[in-house]
Amino acid sequence: MSGPEVVVQARGVSKVFAKGGVTALQDIDLDVARGEFVSLIGPSGCGKSTLLRVIGDLVEPTAGEILVNGKPAHRARLDRDYGIVFQAAVLYDWRTVAKNIALPLELLGWSRARRAERVAEMLELVELEGFERHYPWQLSGGMQQRVSIARALSFSPALLLMDEPFGALDEMTRERLNDELLRIWAETGSTVIFVTHSISEAVYLSTRVVVMSARPGRITTVIPIDLAQPRTFATREDPRFFELVTEVREALHAGGADV
């Protein structure tokens, strides 16, 4: 294969929900290359979560085609090609932190020793050493979300789908987890598709920002983010950062205006 390898390929994807007859997605074309960090941003209800679910084969598209790692999305799901993180940390209350992280590994049939080793690595990665025996309700919201990120990463999926993972967190925690996520992304070399409501978060994290408009949900603009890697505290004060934030904001408003 020449050029960057394509991880996600969406071709003319549409989704109409029979219930309510809402056109959540219309004619979505999107390519995501290996190692990219792509953010989806758009007004509430524009179909960001739906697009993520279609890519993950959790929702059937009404029309169009999705290829993940060159395979149909269905095949990719059965091959466990991606890890997913939802807006609220979906942890299983009856499992300790360690067992929540180990769940996908159990389903993959890993041995106990191998699981324990990987869980220890993951706890270190998300800086939760010492909490392995805690239950989810004993953790703060940010810690819970880090557990669900650790779980999504535990089986090293090449693709990470994240639906507003930090939406419910305060600004301080959010910025810290942003940096943690970027560090993990750089260390693991994975590909990330990241849904957010925050323009600055999208610009700070991404290599590309995909701007969507509402009803029907379409991609209006794709903005490459040419800020230097790795992103640091200084990035947030870079004049270029503000230019890009403005560019994304204007694209969002342009998208909203023609609805």
């Binding site: 939802f86 009856w94 300790t96 769940l103 389903l107």
Partner: protein
């Protein structure tokens, strides 16, 4: 709590007779305890019989209910179609069927009481378990889908653990109902040695002290049964916030 208990006992023993409460209404505590001691071997035998009926009904009723709930949760259209009837059946006064089960299994057979106890246990356990199995957050199921987990695994790893708090509170209700079913079943006839039969016959012979002694035994058994299930709940739901918060 201890004070309330003591005051209760004192008024039972001295205040009620002083107020002129007749012996057939409620005999003094010491007389009941005396009857308890005198009839201890009969009461013990009766307790064994009636308690086995209750346990038998509890085990059968609860396990059949759990199995049915699994089936109805697995095939949702069936579950949705049957649910209203289950809820309605849950509201039927099932002890009213006790004379009928006597007719089915024979008055002297313990099975007529076991079946009444089992039916009493069945509906609350079924309805609660089904609710527990189906009230799973959609994202929790989507996550399992993203792992390509088959239904069997979804049940084992998500639906069944999710249902456990519901199941255990239903089991506590069922433990009480099973005792009620067994004793009331006895009232409609049974082996003369059973606890419920003893209560009825003692009353008809005006042996109120013995009747109260038997009621006392049945109550203690009922509380002990409930307590045992509550203990199991604590052990099984060690992860549950309500339990943990209580312990620490």
């Amino acid at each position: 709590m201890t004070i309330v208990f003591a005051v209760g006992l004192v008024s039972w023993q001295w205040v009620l007779p002083f107020l002129g409460v007749e012996r057939y209404l409620l005999p003094p505590l010491t007389d009941v305890l005396e009857a308890l001691w005198d009839a201890r071997s009969e009461l013990l035998r009766g307790a064994r019989i009636t308690f086995s009926e209750a346990i038998g009904g509890f085990v059968i009723g609860c396990s059949v209910a759990f199995a049915c709930a699994l089936g109805l949760a697995r095939w949702r259209p069936l579950g949705n179609a049957l649910m209203p009837y289950m809820v309605a059946a849950n509201a039927v006064p099932i002890v009213a069927f006790a004379p009928i089960t006597n007719a089915w299994f024979g008055t002297l057979s313990p099975w007529s009481k076991v079946v009444i106890a089992a039916i009493l246990c069945f509906f609350p356990v079924l309805v609660n378990t089904l609710r527990g199995l189906t009230s799973v957050r959609p994202e929790a199921l989507e996550l399992m889908r993203s792992y390509a987990a088959p239904q069997r695994v979804v049940f084992r790893r998500v639906r069944i653990p999710n249902s456990l708090p519901f199941v255990l509170s239903a089991l506590k209700i069922a433990s009480v109902l099973a005792m009620i079913g067994a004793v009331v079943g006895d009232y409609f006839g049974g082996s003369t040695e059973a606890l419920g039969v003893m209560i009825v016959s003692s009353v008809s012979l005006a042996q109120y002290e013995t009747a109260w002694a038997a009621i006392l035994v049945a109550s203690v058994l009922g509380i002990a049964f409930y307590g045992a299930v509550a203990l199991v709940e604590r052990l099984v739901l060690g992860w549950h916030p309500s339990i943990r918060a209580g312990v620490e």
